[in-house]
Amino acid sequence: MVGLFFCRCVKPYSNNPTLTFKHHIINHMDSTQHQRTIQHLFWRAGFGASPVEVQEALSKSRRQLVKNLFHDSRQFDSFDLVKTVPYMSLKKVIKSAATDREEMKEQLKDFAQERRETIGNLNDAWVARMGQGQGVLREKMTLFWHNHFACRSKLATFIQQQNNTLRTHALAKFGDLLMAISKDAAMLQFLNNQQNRKKSPNENFAREVMELFTLGRGNYTETDIKEAARAFTGWGFNLQGEFVFHQLFHDDGTKTLFEKSGNFQGEDVIDILLSNPQTARFISTKLYRNFVNERINEEHVANMAKRFFRSDYDIADLMEYVFTSDWFYDSVNIGAQIKSPVELLAGMQRTLHMDFTDKTPVLYTQKALGQMLFNPPNVAGWPGGKSWIDSSSLLTRMQLPKVLFRNETLNVSVKDSGDANEETVKRKNKFEVTMNWDHFAQAFDKVPEENLGKIVASYLLQVPINSLLLKTIENQVTFNDRTERIKQLTVALMGLPEYQVC
């Protein structure tokens, strides 16, 4: 803790000589920089904030703001959108089908359609929570865990259940989260543990638990995986999505892994993995990459890992430590992340207090930009960072604000996944949003005209903007009406490469 105290004495710019220089020559940078650090917290612990929310936060201490974020995330509701158990209704369909084949085909078609819509509804509901709802920190953490425990399922009930599990434990103990996910129907299905039986072990689940969920590559042996797989034999689920332990399929013999021997059950393996400090390091590193900077600061991560391990993997404690650490606000960390497509969408909503009246284009945009919720590319999740950006995704991102506020459609066709049963997000509806620009413009009432562009930019961008570029944009905005001017400025600024980072 001595080190931490020492850190407080260090000016945020000190490790970047260029910025120190800028700091000395431009005085107003002080207040802009303070505002950016506040926005930094809102972006990383959530999905950004509106200018008014930022203004209200300017006079509060970081500690107070962090406290508010946690307080705001204390209460939460689980999703309860998917009522029927699809497997059961599918069974009914098949039963009735004995009489009429054509009718069965029709019903199966309806069933598939309904399933797609339900998964789509879950997606809509989650984006709405991120973009508008209470408890942004919890949603941000849930999104992180969704990427950490990346999983696909065709059953909406399973998806909903898993998402609720992630949300419930999002800020609790990592050990509980890991155990709950290891017994989660969608995950057991995705990683083939239903097929993991004494007579023919399937190592998929055991491997990913170590490689992706706890230790990371290179911190276990193939024997550890084989032995762990034996301990997980018999772990399965029923059609209601409940965890079931099939004693009959379980291997009751002695297993030896990580130099420990015993008649281990799956639970024991998870305990062994948690007792290894490497798990704390691995998770801390990933959290740092996601919430602070893709470029690791070894010292900061080591401190996080130590604290995480000592607190018995208390996620809330760790995140509070990160958000209240001075190094979190170092200028090298501000604006250093490329927003994921979902962060981009939810972020626009948060900043503008905007609502998507028709959710279809939101789904389509996720697909076009490469991040469909509940559809990670594989169990390793979305690679993130620079991989979000290529020529086409960048052009689409830059055109998005304009397309959105003109109520147009994205001029992009999305790929076919190849799967005949897959959700087709091919419906290209026009964007429909509700947004009160007068209300948004009020935040800038006191700003003198000559500063308007600069000030609006300071609320929208987490990195400085070239003054020549800002001039070019200001020159394009020729409306007499101030609200309309602010709208045009906002749309133009949100179309910049600078807006893609936070």
Binding site: T18, R152, R207, L212, R295, G335, A336, Q337, I338, A368, G370, P377, N378, V379, A380, P383, G385, K386, S387, I389, D390, S391, S392, S393, L394, L395, M398, Q399, K402, N411, V412, S413, V414, K415, D416, S417, G418, D419, A420, N421, E422, V463, P464, I465, N466, S467, L468, L469, T472, I473, Q476, A492, G495, L496, P497, E498, Q500, V501
Partner: protein, 400 residues
């Protein structure tokens, strides 16, 4: 292609040269009128959904094949025979024509160890060139670009996908390929007011990611202009089918004929996930494929470019040997790969027909790792070092 040659062709840009118009002019000066007949390129055709290999290259003398597929097997008398054992699905008549001219290699039983039967995962594996227990976030074409552009930055059009969004296959660590539906559309997008105004303004920020975004943007704008200006040079005089694939291959042919410095083209045709009533659907798709490729090959031949172009066709997996109850087939494993174009073949068929007596729980066993096919294209066709692109050494097939 030698690395130096590749770099010259890729119109490398340095971090400071974001002033695109001048930069492009310099590029044009360097390349206009330059004949690049020694350049080799690869055209990748991805059949998405898992094409049924057994009904594509049919083992027409095999009793097990007919026994396991009572209602969907291709009748012996309809098969377009390649030898005494196997023959093409009749929908591939136009590919058979090319085969008879010595322009087609059929590689049987291509796959990988511990096959994954999920579309997403298996396509992931094929596109990244990973093993089934590995998760890579870059594609094999992307890593090919990385290897060629090491120490320099290349322009994205060096690998071109004909689509609106970019596949993982073309994403590298340092360099990404470019995706475009057609040169006009992309050019139009980069000409839009937003992009045009900022493309040449250097960023005020020294953040690594902002620099990366601007570099991507600059690369996109110059590639779009370059490809657009080149595409106008040579318009195809041949009639292509009006299908999506036909249009895409026409675009590719025009770019190749115009001498665009692209080494890899990528295009996909989807709909091969034939769980229900397979034959109508597969027949329609294979016919689309064969007709478009046939015109494409003849177009390139007429322009004396076929010797430099190799077309590879693959799918993420084959399908089960046994048909299902809906006159379709379910997800399987090993599959055939076609290599079309380039020099004439002495050995048109590689690997024996699949052994239907030796199955792995109802699925074909692979005999050749797909990364060996990639290594063949990388080492022997594009003349690069496949070890830099693939994880480990994969033995090339010595086809050319």
């Amino acid at each position: 292609m030698k690395r130096r040659e590749f770099l010259r062709n890729s119109a490398f840009t340095t971090a400071g040269s974001l002033l695109i118009p001048q930069f492009l002019k310099a590029y044009e000066r360097q390349h206009l009128g330059q004949q690049s007949l020694n350049e080799k390129s690869v055209v990748i055709i991805q059949l998405s959904g898992g094409n049924d290999g057994l009904n594509t290259v049919v083992p027409f003398r095999n009793d097990i094949y007919y026994r396991e597929r009572p209602s969907i097997a291709i009748k012996q008398e309809n098969v377009l025979r390649l030898n005494d054992e196997i023959g093409f699905n009749p929908a591939l008549e136009k590919i058979k024509e090319l085969y008879d001219n010595g322009l087609v290699s059929v590689i049987n039983n291509v796959g990988y160890p511990n096959p994954d039967r999920s579309h997403f995962r298996s396509m992931d594996i094929w596109q990244t060139g990973s093993g089934s227990d590995q998760y890579l976030s870059t594609g094999w074409i992307g890593r090919y670009l990385d290897a060629q552009c090491k120490g320099q930055s290349c322009l994205p059009h060096q690998a071109l996908e004909i689509d609106d969004t970019l596949s993982l296959a073309l994403k590298g660590q340092q360099v990404n390929g470019l995706s475009l539906q057609n040169p006009e559309k992309l050019y139009g997008q980069t000409k839009s007011a937003v992009v045009k105004n900022i493309g040449s303004i250097p960023t005020a920020d020294d953040h690594d990611n902002v620099a990366y975004l601007y570099k991507t943007l600059a690369g996109t704008v110059s590639s779009a202009e370059y490809v657009y200006s080149k595409a106008k040079v040579s318009k195809s005089r041949v009639m292509y089918p009006t299908t999506e694939l036909g249009k895409s291959l026409k675009t590719i042919a025009e770019l190749i004929t115009s001498g665009v410095s692209t080494s890899v083209y990528y295009v996909s045709l989807s709909g091969f996930d034939t769980h229900i009533r397979q034959n109508d659907q597969q027949d329609r798709l294979l016919r689309q494929y064969a007709e478009a490729v046939n015109v494409f090959v003849n177009d390139l031949t007429a322009n004396s470019r076929l010797d430099d172009v190799m077309i590879i066709t693959f799918s993420e997996f084959g399908r089960r040997v046994k048909q299902n109850a809906s006159n379709g087939t379910d997800h399987g494993t090993a599959n055939n790969v076609f290599l079309i174009g380039g020099p004439k073949r002495t050995r048109p068929i590689l690997n024996e027909a699949p052994d239907l007596t030796d199955l792995d729980t109802g699925d074909l066993k692979y005999k050749l790792d797909f990364r060996q096919v990639y290594a063949t294209l990388l080492d022997d066709w594009l003349k690069t070092d496949s070890k830099l692109v693939l994880d480990g050494k994969f033995e090339p097939l010595r086809l050319f």
